[in-house]
């Protein structure tokens, strides 16, 4: 449940939404507050400037006292209304209020007294009637000494505005939050629907229908790449699946022949009493078939070992010349028996690999060269190096491989025309060779002329010298 893309998307969206929305609202709130304060301050400064201007003018004419009385009694507009929210007062150096606006005096209120404010002082304090006010105080020097002019505006209305802004935000926040969450939920569901239909089309490809492919054209733009990758993977799967199936069916076919020989020998022999000689002959046949089966099974195991890297060999430095010499000792009696001459030419080359595996490779190739050679034939083994590869070629003067079958020689259980009676061997040899050479990072090439002979060339990467 918590591992769903949809849920994660919704949660992440809501987290980001909350952070952005909250930050924005907080920013707007403080911005609004600062606009209000600066507007109020501007108004207060203007008021003070006017009062200061009037006082200066009258002071120059020696009529400061008169003007102070004037300011206290004859103010107009909001300053004349009791507790109107706009106030001023004038304080002398000793902190005694010498004049104040009727809005204060009518209610017998005063602003908090400030003396000696050489630079304008701004503060928010609680004013008359317990209402918050913004208070500005500036001191000027007049003929009577230092007078501090103070003006204040009520912030009550502005605070009401801010509080209603806050309320609006708090009420709308959960609504917007829920709407956005639901929106994201539906949008992601819609977006993920194409993934679901993609999954449906993948579901239709079972192991029985591996040849089916996802239609890349039909996939939405964002999934085309995925469809392509899937199809590529299916290609690889189908290939290896078919190879496996073929291998299994070939292997069981190959095992069935000796099994049916054993079975038939037993069935027929048991129908009546036989002489000891007959029983002996039957047992010999059965043991021959069992050997054949063991051989096939061993080779199947070797192939799967190298195919699936069940046993990963530890590469050691291998001298190819030595491997070939071992192989030649191994096949000598067989070759001599058929009057076949083996020539070996070349230099010492070294590769990193599995010595046993490589011996298997070359003994298979040389044994084939003997098996399919004509009597008194010749086998040429050549070892050389080229472009970082050791190239070992085994050429025979045998029956050759038909051109259309060259590609098949590395298939499991392939045999050149079994009608020639040379059904010895399991037909697994070359596929083992192929598997081992591949596991060494090398490859193998076959050239053949029907009736003249074949050349098998093995390419192995040379050892990396430091």
């Amino acid at each position: 449940m918590f591992n769903s893309i949809r849920l994660k998307l919704v949660i992440w969206f809501l987290i980001i939404f909350s952070v952005v929305f909250t930050t924005l609202e907080i920013f707007l709130y403080y911005k609004l507050e600062s606009i209000i304060i600066s507007k109020t301050e501007h108004h207060l400064s203007t008021t003070l400037d006017t009062i200061a201007g009037l006082l200066k003018l009258e002071d120059d004419h020696g009529q400061l006292q008169m003007e102070l009385v004037e300011l206290s009694n004859s103010a107009q507009g909001v300053y004349a209304e009791k507790l109107s929210g706009q106030y001023y007062q004038i304080v002398n150096a000793s902190g005694i209020i010498i004049a104040r606006s009727p809005s204060l005096s009518l209610a017998d209120e005063k602003l908090p007294v400030v003396t000696n404010a050489v630079t304008p002082q701004f503060e928010t304090v609680t004013g008359p009637n317990n209402v918050p006010i913004r208070l500005v105080s500036v001191s000027y020097r007049f003929s009577e000494g230092l007078l501090t002019l103070q003006a204040a505006d009520s912030l009550e209305d502005n605070y009401k505005l801010l509080s209603s802004f806050r309320k609006t935000v708090i009420i709308t926040y959960p609504v917007i939050f829920l709407l956005c969450g639901a929106g994201t939920f539906f949008i992601t569901g819609w977006a993920l629907r194409s993934i679901r239909s993609f999954a449906d089309s993948i579901d239709q490809i079972s192991d029985r229908e591996l040849s089916k492919r996802i239609n890349e054209e039909d996939a939405v733009h964002e999934l085309k790449g995925l469809a392509g990758s899937f199809n590529k993977m299916l290609n690889r799967l189908e290939l290896s699946f078919n190879k496996q199936r073929q291998f299994l069916s070939d292997a069981s076919h190959e095992l069935r022949t000796p099994t049916s020989i054993i079975r038939s020998y037993c069935d027929v022999t048991l129908t009546r009493e036989r002489s000891a000689d007959e029983y002996r002959e039957v047992l010999r046949k059965i043991s021959e078939s069992v050997n054949r089966m063991c051989n096939i099974i061993n080779r199947i195991l070797t192939i799967s070992r190298f195919d699936y890297n069940v046993v990963s060999f530890r590469p050691v430095r291998v001298d190819i010349q030595e491997v070939i010499n071992d192989v030649l000792r191994l096949v000598e009696p067989n070759a001599a028996g058929r009057g076949i001459k083996i020539n070996c030419a070349g230099k010492d080359v070294f590769v990193n690999g599995d010595r046993e595996g490589l011996t298997e490779v070359f003994s298979n190739l040389v044994e084939n060269a003997i098996k399919y050679n004509k009597p008194e034939g010749i086998i040429d083994i050549n070892i050389r190096e080229e472009n970082g590869y050791a190239i070992i070629s085994v050429a025979d003067t045998g029956i050759g491989i038909p051109e259309d079958e060259i590609g098949k020689v590395f298939d499991r259980f392939y045999r050149v025309d079994s009608s020639r009676g040379q059904t010895v061997g399991s037909g697994l040899g070359l596929s083992i060779v192929g598997a081992i050479v591949e596991s060494h990072g090398g490859n193998i090439k076959v050239e053949s002329t029907l009736g003249k002979g074949s050349v098998f060339s093995v390419f192995l990467p040379l050892e990396n010298l430091p």
């Binding site: 038939s264 027929v268 079994s418």
Partner: protein
């Protein structure tokens, strides 16, 4: 009864042949498709046992080739493949039966008998002609309840006559169905074997079953003549 085995695995062909011969069948053997087709076309057999995977000409091709030439000999396909589609393909091509390797030898025998019966008017494994009883499964023969001991060759001849009861079979038919191609038989030898059979079956009975049809051959016939 004459059987042709077409099987490239020589050991297997050998033991099947041996087993069938011990059952009194005459068996020819071919080890590849070409040879098999030649044998099937030139030596009439009663049943052909055909391997599918054969060198030179594969079994199914061989089968369709001989069916095209109107050779209707029943064919049992023998193969290591048991894929159901292969079976259907084999039967569609004209095979009469199918056995998957490895098989039980007795099953092969039973199926051969079934195919031979299907070819003949006789539909049971025990053939009765008046008081003569031939059990084709056990090769036991009785006349009037008394067991009669026959050699393999004699039994083969009797069985062939019995499957074609009330029909005339020529000496050539007999040679073709109870001798394999290796034995270079003179058709006169048939007369010798007919005599052996008469001695064992008809001699002590007034009612004779084996009849000579002058100029045509022999016939195993029920009822009084």
């Amino acid at each position: 009864m004459r059987i042709l085995i077409i099987e490239d695995e020589k050991d297997l062909a050998f033991i099947i042949k041996k087993g069938l011969e011990e059952e009194g069948y005459i068996v020819d053997e071919a080890n590849d498709g070409e040879e098999g087709q030649y044998m099937a076309e030139n030596y009439p057999a009663d049943v052909i046992i055909l391997d599918i995977m054969l060198p030179k000409i594969d079994g199914l091709t061989l089968l369709s080739n001989i069916r095209k030439k109107a050779i209707t000999t029943p064919v049992i396909l023998l193969t290591a493949r048991d894929a159901i589609l292969d079976k259907i393909k084999g039967l569609d091509t004209g095979a009469d039966d199918y056995l998957t390797k490895p098989f039980v030898f007795d099953e092969l025998l039973a199926r051969i008998r079934t195919l031979i019966r299907r070819q003949s008017a006789v539909k049971e494994s025990v053939i009765r002609i008046d008081d003569l009883e031939i059990n084709t499964a056990t090769h036991e023969v009785t006349r009037g309840g008394t067991p009669v001991t026959l050699s393999a060759r004699e039994y083969a001849l009797l069985e062939y006559l019995a499957y074609n009861k009330d029909n005339v079979v020529s000496r050539t038919d007999i040679v073709e169905h109870i001798y394999n191609e290796e034995s270079d038989m003179d058709s006169n030898i048939v007369d010798v074997y007919i005599n052996y059979l008469r001695n064992k079956l008809d001699k002590d009975h007034d009612h004779k079953l084996i009849h000579t049809v002058r100029g045509a051959g022999y016939m195993l016939k029920s009822g009084q003549t």
